[in-house]
């Protein structure tokens, strides 16, 4: 194959000085290549061997534990650290994409000084001396702005501003002020609690996007999965109370389309019912006497009986959990809302059971918007002489009326430590590029008692002349003469800071061993004591306030991929579709189809959104999952700087936010602005990655009604003859190519025990090897005969495994972490919006969103992770004229790029349409379609060929990982054990919905799941015998107080 070598290995070989057989371009002999060996051979690093370093993710304020995979001393993949209590091995899309922040081609190459409007490169020494001088001038008027810092850096910053005379302020666009304020008010604990969703038996979310951005999404997703698998006695019910069905809400059984701002009244109404009916107690009923269901019904558009039903369900299925946070609480009455929900939780005794303060997220000390505003005012007033910015982008992440830009202009000298030229850096006078988190040491207290260490997993990328910001601060301090006490390197400062922790958790180890253990493990964590929680009174519950005029309420949600906009410079995140609209690379306004009809707007037409704060035009996305009087825009786009991938895409939703804050907490009121809509004039493209969201009865995403599931053997039994289980549409259809009654097991006691279905099912006595499993059990002569077993002949005689996958639709939340993981693992090119819109996406795994029912009430949105199904009887294989795709002895559907001629017949014959074709040369640096501009190509996985123009590609079930795992087993002369390696998607899945393994091993998890209940095969009637088995989503009857 004449594929050009994108990642020119020699480049990084120079970096780490390793010599290996370099890559030759195609079969022609290239001009003599130089091999650059080590100067001094390090003992630990061998070329061609992967090394893993545990560290801490810094892509959002939470700080999950991660493991960084490095090859030849380059970080090439980020995975969740299974030992870490927050991430628990899962990692969200944003965390995975951290890698692209590291290799961002637009990173600042060296310190830069602003001259007029141009940037001029300066040396570090010049820069340091300049700043030192400024420090002297601005004595006492120094302002250090950072993002949420919870570890040693926070104290260093503190000491720094103390020395320099000034203040350190931490700004986060989503600091959950109202949650903290409300908890302080109601419980006397001013922090963000841990929501133990796994412990709850039913959940009501009051506009909390807890699966996307709120608090610790990966952690909550894991708990959510556990909660959702419960279905005995009506458990596992999830109700979303929000005006617009978010991705989190899409997972709900019921959508309560409350009037914007009505969430609080609804919570209190539920509390009223509970107290009135004596289902709960603990607070004075007088608090909520005003909120009778009828009264609430008027103010929320939610029928009284619904309120009563929800209240009863909530009280009945204890421990239950009501979550207020994220979207809904970012409003003028956010604090009151959280307080109301706290009250609701308190009366049914959820506090301490599902709402826990043992490991509160560390947001303490993060400035509220109001506090930050005072700093802005100070700047405007000229009270700031010197400003440092690190890890925050206020110029973008504050509304225009906050006047940050203007205020910054008043500051004589501004220094930015940013890695990329973002909006704030553009305002600064000096850029001191800081190394990326993956290149630098640090630590964080992710949550109470969870001390995570951030290990530098590689030497700083040589292309950029950057320094760890800690080192720079220390250097500055020393130069300015107040940092004498500090060690020279931030690393030593950090290490010193861990001494007290050693004292506490050392357990007799001397510091060095303790330190090594910490570095290996990624930190230390204790089970912090659970504080006693009392009810300390509620704030006043006032009616919602709206600012501005207009017939519509504007709803602004943080993007699940770009968060507050800090992900916008990462092509993976831009290319991964937003799971609500399935749109990419831009922003859009979601409105209800009927509203659109009134306005005469069609899908993708321009729509003008106007608030008192500002107006802009966006493409409209017609979404039935939103109230008719609401328009929703998500944050994250509309950057005016921040690199080629972020700049000039879409609209910054903050421009719409009217001037209002939550008095009680000082939070910025993202919600509550009134908006006016009109048909737009200029056409703006809406890049949809999936246009059709109706599955046309193709039964791709199937559900099984709880009733049928509880009916258990009966249902499965006659389903085995191929009948549909009675029940809702798209209910279980059981495959014909498995014997009747196959996989049936005793349901009796299984149904009564919660969590049963998170555990492997017992292998039934009626077990028979599935037709398409590699038959390790079958007798030789039988196995040899093609007629008997088509997948074990000729060169296949040593076949032992049948790699397969099982995907549980019940726990898949559509977060798309797997998609990004796959991009990272398999060198998949990013092709950009135009091609995506054309239907030329290259993703190997995508998540299809099917909207069965999208209206207030019972809710049915289904997410199907769709990748190559590795069919036993693959339609694609038989049509390839050159054997470029064929069936491998271990049951994989192989795709050999270098044999592929590109007839594209395989894709035409693929029922699942999961094969991606290289329409252009994404791998050729000289072409405009080049997808890996230096140094993005450093991230490429050396174990995976970078595909060239004109070849077909698709999911390989991470064959490189399989071979690697088998290699290890061979080295240790042992058999493979189940789960010792897995695919990138399965590894990253926060809810563990994806299981990978050997189907031929009757004890393997994947086997038990694939032949347990709820299993089905997509397009099973085509008899493709897929290697990917789906487990039906459990469909609950949401209209009966959660009863099944």
């Amino acid at each position: 194959m004449s594929d050009s070598v994108v990642f020119n290995r020699r480049d990084f070989l120079k970096l780490v000085g390793i010599g290996v057989a370099g890559a030759a371009a195609g079969c022609a002999k290239p001009p003599a290549e130089k091999l650059i060996p080590y100067l001094n051979a390090p003992e630990d690093i061998l070329p061609g061997v992967a090394y893993f370093y545990s560290s801490t993710c810094r892509e959002c304020p939470v700080g999950c534990g991660i493991v960084v995979k490095t090859r030849e001393a380059r970080a090439i993949k980020i995975e969740g650290n299974p030992e870490h209590p927050i991430g628990m091995g899962g990692l969200c899309a944003r965390g995975q994409a951290g890698l692209q922040g590291l290799y961002d081609p637009d990173r600042v190459k060296s310190p830069m000084m602003k001259q007029g409007n141009a940037w001029k490169a300066v040396t570090w020494d010049e820069a340091i001396t300049t700043v030192t001088a400024k420090l002297a001038e601005a004595k006492g008027k120094v302002l250090l702005v950072t993002g949420n810092e919870t570890g040693s850096f926070r104290s260093l910053a503190g000491e720094f501003v103390a020395g320099a005379g000034g203040q350190h302020v931490m700004y986060e666009p989503f600091a959950y002020e109202s949650v903290r304020a409300a908890n302080a008010k109601t419980f006397g604990i001013g922090s963000v609690p841990r929501y133990d969703i796994g412990a709850a038996r039913c959940v009501v979310s009051f506009g909390a996007d807890f699966l996307e951005t709120f608090a610790a999404p990966t952690n909550q997703a894991r708990g959510f999965a556990a909660m959702r698998t419960k279905h005995d006695d009506g458990a596992g019910h999830f109700v979303a109370v929000e005006p617009r069905l978010s991705l989190t809400g899409a997972n709900a059984d019921e959508w309560v389309a409350v009037r914007p701002g009505g969430e609080m009244a609804l919570a209190l109404g539920m509390a009223h019912v509970i107290l009135a009916e004596g289902l709960g107690s603990g607070v004075d009923a007088g608090l909520v006497s005003a909120f009778t269901p009828e009264a609430v019904a008027n103010s929320t558009d939610v029928p009284a009986e619904t309120i009563q039903r929800l209240a009863r369900m909530f009280a009945k299925h204890r421990p239950s959990l009501a979550i207020a946070g994220g979207i809904a609480t970012q409003s003028a009455e956010g604090t009151a809302l959280v307080a109301a929900v706290n009250l609701l939780n308190f009366v049914v005794g959820n506090i301490g059971a599902t709402v826990k303060f043992d490991r509160p997220l560390s947001f303490d000390g993060v400035a509220s918007f109001a506090q930050f505003k005072t700093h802005i005012d100070a700047m405007a007033a000229g009270d700031v002489g010197l400003m440092f910015v690190h890890g925050a982008n206020p110029a973008y992440a504050t509304p225009k009326w906050a006047g940050f830009a203007a205020a910054a202009a008043k500051v004589p000298f501004k220094v930015s430590f940013t890695g990329v030229l973002d909006e704030t850096a553009e305002l600064c006078d000096l850029i001191l590029p800081s190394t990326h988190a993956l290149e630098s040491w640090g630590d964080a207290e992710s949550a109470g008692g969870v001390h995570s260490l951030q290990q530098a997993s590689m030497r700083p990328v040589t292309v950029f002349n950057a320094r760890p910001v800690g080192d720079v601060l220390i250097a500055l301090g020393k130069a300015a003469g107040f940092g004498a006490a500090w060690p020279d390197a931030y690393f030593d400062y950090l290490k010193a800071r861990w001494q007290p922790l050693h004292a506490r958790y050392g357990a007799g180890r001397d510091f060095e061993t303790f330190w090594l253990d910490v570095v290996k493990k990624g930190g230390v964590w204790e089970d912090a004591a659970t504080p006693a929680v009392r009810w300390t009174g509620a704030p006043a519950f006032a009616a919602p306030q709206y600012t501005g005029t207009g017939d519509f309420s504007l709803l602004i949600a943080p993007s699940s991929h770009l968060y507050d906009g800090r992900g916008a410079n990462k092509p993976w995140l831009q290319e991964t579709p937003d799971m609500t609209a399935k749109a990419v690379w831009g922003s859009w306004a979601e409105i209800h189809p009927e509203t659109a009809a009134k306005l005469g707007v069609k899908n993708g037409d321009a729509l003008e959104v106007a608030t008192d704060a500002g107006k802009a035009q966006l493409p409209a996305y017609l979404y039935a999952g939103i109230r008719k009087d609401v328009v929703a825009v998500s944050l994250g786009q509309g950057h005016t700087a921040f690199g080629r991938y972020a700049k000039d895409r879409g609209v910054n939703a903050l421009d719409f936010v009217a001037q209002a804050t939550d008095a009680a907490s000082g939070a910025l009121a993202y919600q509550g602005s009134k908006a006016r809509l009109a048909k737009g004039t200029k056409a703006m493209p809406l890049y949809l990655q999936q246009a059709e969201k109706d599955q046309h009865d193709r039964e791709i995403a199937q559900v099984i009604p709880v009733a049928a599931l509880l009916a258990g053997a009966v249902g499965v039994g006659h389903a085995a003859e191929g009948h549909a289980v009675e029940g809702a549409h798209g209910a279980a259809k059981f495959p014909g190519h498995y014997p009747a009654g196959f996989g049936v097991h005793e349901p009796a006691e299984a149904m009564t025990r919660p969590g049963k279905f998170t555990e492997p099912l017992a292998r039934p006595d009626s077990f028979q090897t599935p037709a398409h499993a590699i038959t390790a059990y079958e007798s030789k002569e039988k196995a040899r005969s093609p007629r008997q077993n088509p997948v074990d002949v000729g060169s296949y005689k040593h076949a032992k495994h049948r790699w397969a996958m099982s995907i549980d639709l019940n726990t898949c939340t559509g977060c798309a972490a797997c998609v990004v993981a796959c991009y990272a693992e398999n060198n998949i090119p990013v092709v950009g919006p135009e091609l995506i819109k054309k239907g030329r996406e290259m993703a190997w795994i995508r998540i299809d969103r099917f909207e069965e029912k999208l209206a207030p009430g019972a809710n049915d949105v289904r997410f199907v992770p769709m990748m190559c199904q590795h069919c036993g009887d693959a339609p694609c294989e038989m049509v390839c004229p050159v054997y470029a795709t064929y069936h491998n002895p271990e049951g994989l559907n192989a795709q050999i790029y270098n044999r592929c001629v590109g007839t594209r017949y395989c894709s035409n014959n693929c029922p699942y349409k999961v094969r991606a074709f290289n329409w252009f040369d994404y791998a050729a640096p000289e072409k405009t379609t080049f997808a890996f501009p230096e140094p993005l190509n450093w991230q490429l996985n050396p174990d995976v060929t970078v595909r060239s123009k004109g070849v077909m590609e698709k999911c390989t079930m991470c064959i490189q990982r399989i071979l690697d795992g088998k290699g290890h087993a061979k080295d240790e002369k042992r058999e493979l054990t189940d789960g010792e390696f897995t695919t990138a998607c399965a590894q990253s899945c926060p809810t563990q919905a994806i299981t990978f393994g050997d189907l031929a091993d009757p004890e393997a998890q994947v086997h038990l799941k694939s032949f347990g209940e709820r299993r089905y095969w997509v397009f099973e009637d085509l008899h493709t015998k897929p290697g990917v088995t789906y487990l039906q989503k459990i469909q609950r009857d949401s209209m009966s107080e959660g009863h099944a």
Partner: protein, 182 residues
Amino acid sequence: MLNKLLDGLLNPPPPKFHGVMGIWYYVDDAADAVKMLREAGHKNLNVFSPVPHHEIEHALEQGPSLVRWVTAVGGFLGATGGFALCYYSISSWPLVIGGKELFSLPPFTVIGYESMILIAGLSNLLGMLALARLPQLKQVAPYDPRFQEDRIGIWVPCDAATAARLESMMKGHGAEEVQVHA
């Protein structure tokens, strides 16, 4: 220059012939003449005509062409070749595709069938060229362009002695014109 060269190539000096060439217009006369000449012992005569005439063929007592056998053999070889290719290509590196049988007749038949036609066609061509002595590089008899239009020529190679007698015989059988090459 080029033209001269071509002329040299295309119009070589006519070779020397020994025999009699009679030219007929009427088909039945020509047929009779052929019969007569053959009875007179001139079995090695050649007939030239713009289209084949049954009368003349009959008079010449021609049997069916042998081409058919060549074609048959070609077809047989082609078919076996096709099937052999299928069998060998799969057995040399057995790759399972779509869970299908490695060796199955239906696909092989398609390949075998097409190869049969191909080889049969080629051998049919070669057979014809060989038997009809094409391409004919040197003339066997004095040639006349009218043979491609509407005249029929009968060529009897003979020595000068018999030439005179043949001429009269031909004239007697309605030959428009008789050329004697001696």
